[in-house]
Amino acid sequence: MSDTHYPALSDIDAIQQAFESAGYICTTRIATVVRLAAALEKPVLIEGPPGVGKTELAKTCAMVVDRPLVRLQCYEGLDESKALYEWKYGKQLLYTQLLKEQLGDVLDGAKGLTESMERLHQFGDVFYSEAFLESRPLLKAMEEDNGGVLLIDEIDKADFEFESLLLEVLSDFQVSIPELGTIQAHSKPLVFLTSNDTRDLSDALKRRCLHLHIPFPSVELEARIVASRVPDLAQSMTDQLVRFVHAIRSLDLKKAPAISETVDWAKSLVLLHANDLDGSLVQDTLNVLLKYEEDIQIAEGQLPKLMAAAAG
């Protein structure tokens, strides 16, 4: 157990408090999983609808343990040269040009091809050494001396092949580079993977991870989140607003508003110096909450019902 690695993450209640003071209100379930991830040294696969704070969880975690956050954003076509490492071709070429003359000296007096080759061999693989290695996020996370937090964001956007590439990193915390050998993590990082569920991930990947599903929060929890993010908003307003958002989520919408949208809405209401959630104000600011014209129309049609729900 590596509790000593991340002493901040050795107790569930302490985690909840630390996260809260960092501005992230988390449920016991989330805190439990973070605790287990630190203790079992396993990556956490976070799933859930967009905007419930999956990425934020990893960022906050980095803040709480006070280690650097290394982030890898996934997209279709992401490959190892972008994720693991790449050789610095330019530098290699430049150096071969510059060292041409030295090369002449080295080979000076060598008779025949075999002898020249032998001399060259004596210098080993100078051009394939760490000096010419460009670390990409995964390798970088392995190289952090005191561990760190590795965030692999939106893994479901990456190709299927990329998942297989991750397996070695996730289960053994090492990266194999054929020219150099295997590079082991100096100190195992905390790994978070996020997924929006756009496709099924492979079983092999799932098996290596602890699984955390973050749903939309309850009214109370969301009210706490909004209150901590937008402290300027009056408590009564916060409650109304959160109840309104929850009522909207129960409608059949193209995209239900996420927590981040609730927070944005709360912020804009503060900017507008609103003291009370009334119909015209809602109508004017609905576009902060809903991102599709159809959704806005649906919500406007149901406005009296939603307002009643907000009034509680």
Partner: protein, 474 residues
């Protein structure tokens, strides 16, 4: 036994329980690997068994790997780790005391003493450990006895639903229920009150044993039974599937569709890289002194197959049409542009119905709108007018029907035209191959005008055909 400290003993039984729970989860179709099990044990040690919700959250993180599995896990956890209802002895005794004091343990021995109502016929049974445990409701003694008997009866070997009665009998025998039964038979005529009492106790015992067997069945066998049902269902003629099996069939179909979608979705990506793009590679090599460090490959454009399904919805074939359409629409991930047409007398496009309505309802509508006496000639004519222009080298046309045309002209010329334009023309016939060409069946003629003609009347055959179609090898 005394060597083990109480803690290690507890830990051992707890991890045993955890293992049994893992078995139970597997029975609920949550795939738990041995590695997951080890994780779960480690998790349980970390969070401890004291706090139920903590344990639940922790185990969920290790064992449930998707949202669906999470909901199954949560209900399974609640079912399995039910807080055991405490039945303290004291309250039980207070129930009994009004009847007379002799139920207290120390007074069992003097059974010769006449009780207030005269000789108690049950005294003959006292001393029988099973009877005593039942009468005094000694929970721990009873559970131990049942567990021992269950182990003796090898209840964990139960494999079928129908074996439950048999195992209940075996366990009861091992418990020594026979003595009680004999006593009951003896009392039946002479002592009705004692008979009632013994029978009541036996019924309690039977109930507990039944629970025990039920649990064993859930843990060890329900998965096997489910598999058996699934397997037999996928071989059953689709026309014979009745309402009660529909839900299961739908589930099975979705699972097959998911599997096919995963397999073929993947393959489509894998073979995308084509030949070297020489021009671009040379251009890219300019900054590196002509050394092609960064080659560029051409991409192979793979057309997704488009499917047009033409289904006979007349009485005899309607059920099969329904399943074909259900299957195709379950595959929407890999076959996004499926168009469907239904005919009996006339033909019409029904894609919109399927896009907007739940499958079952759409089928009803289709049957209502296009039902009537089958006419393949007219249907093909209608199809040609409606959609032939859009049939191209990426289109696979599937016709589902028995090719029984009531002696009318089947218009094979139109079929030939479709074949010439389409990538593939597949005819699925729910009738067995032996019946092709008998009576008014035009199947033997039809067959010549298709790339592929197959018998298709159960889920397995359907899966195989769709699999072939997706792999797109002619």
């Amino acid at each position: 036994m005394s060597i083990d400290s109480p803690q290690t003993a507890r830990a051992a039984t707890s991890s045993d329980q955890l293992l049994a729970f893992v078995q139970y989860l597997r029975g609920k179709k949550i795939p738990v690997s041995p590695a997951d099990t080890l994780d779960a044990i480690e998790v349980a040690e970390l969070v401890g068994y004291q706090n139920r919700s903590l344990l639940k959250n922790g185990l969920a993180a290790a064992l449930a790997k998707s949202r669906h599995e999470l909901s199954v896990f949560e209900s399974a956890f609640d079912d399995y780790f039910q807080p055991i209802p405490e039945r303290p002895l004291a309250s039980v005794q207070s129930d009994i005391q009004p009847d007379g004091s002799p139920t207290d343990a120390p007074e069992q021995a003097p059974h010769t003493d006449p009780v207030a109502q005269g000789e108690d016929p049950l005294d003959g049974l006292r001393g029988n450990s099973l009877f005593d445990a039942l009468e005094s409701r000694d929970e721990s003694a009873l559970s131990v006895a049942i567990e021992t008997a269950a182990a003796e009866a090898k209840v964990e070997e139960i494999s079928l639903f129908t074996q439950r009665g048999q195992y209940v009998r075996k366990i009861l025998d091992a418990l020594g229920d026979e003595a009680l039964r004999d006593a009951a038979i003896e009392f039946e005529q002479s002592e009705p009150a004692a008979f009632e009492a013994v029978q009541a106790l036996r019924e309690q015992l039977r109930e507990r044993v039944r629970d025990r067997v039920e649990r064993a069945y859930l843990i060890h066998a329900s998965a096997a039974t489910e598999d058996l049902l699934d397997e037999s269902l996928s071989k059953l003629k689709l026309g014979n599937v009745d309402h009660s099996q529909m839900a299961r069939l739908k589930r099975l179909m979705d699972r097959m569709a998911r599997k096919l979608a995963a397999r073929h979705g993947r393959r489509r990506r894998r073979y995308r890289r084509g030949k070297l793009h020489v021009g671009e590679t040379v251009r890219r090599a300019i900054p590196t002194d002509g050394i092609p460090f960064n080659p560029r490959w051409r991409k192979i454009e793979r057309k997704r197959p488009q499917i047009m399904a033409i289904c006979d919805v007349s009485g005899s074939v309607a059920a099969y049409a329904k399943f074909l359409l259900m299957f195709l629409y379950a595959l929407q991930d890999v076959l996004p542009r499926t168009r469907s047409f239904a005919f009996s007398a006339a033909l019409g496009e029904v894609s919109d119905l399927f896009a907007t309505l739940p499958v079952e309802e759409a089928i009803e509508r289709v049957n209502f709108k296009y039902g009537g006496a089958t006419d393949y000639g007219r249907a093909l004519q209608d199809f040609s007018e409606l959609a032939l222009a859009e049939v191209n080298s990426a289109t696979t046309v599937i016709v589902l029907g028995d090719a029984r045309n009531n002696q009318a002209d089947p218009r094979l010329d139109l079929l030939g035209e479709i074949k010439a334009r389409a990538r593939q023309l597949i005819w699925l016939n729910p009738e067995s191959t032996r019946l092709w060409g008998t009576g008014d069946s035009e199947m033997l003629l039809v067959k010549r005008h298709c790339h592929l003609a197959k018998e298709c009347n159960n889920l397995n055959q359907l899966e195989r055909i769709i699999d072939k179609l997706l792999s797109d090898k002619r």
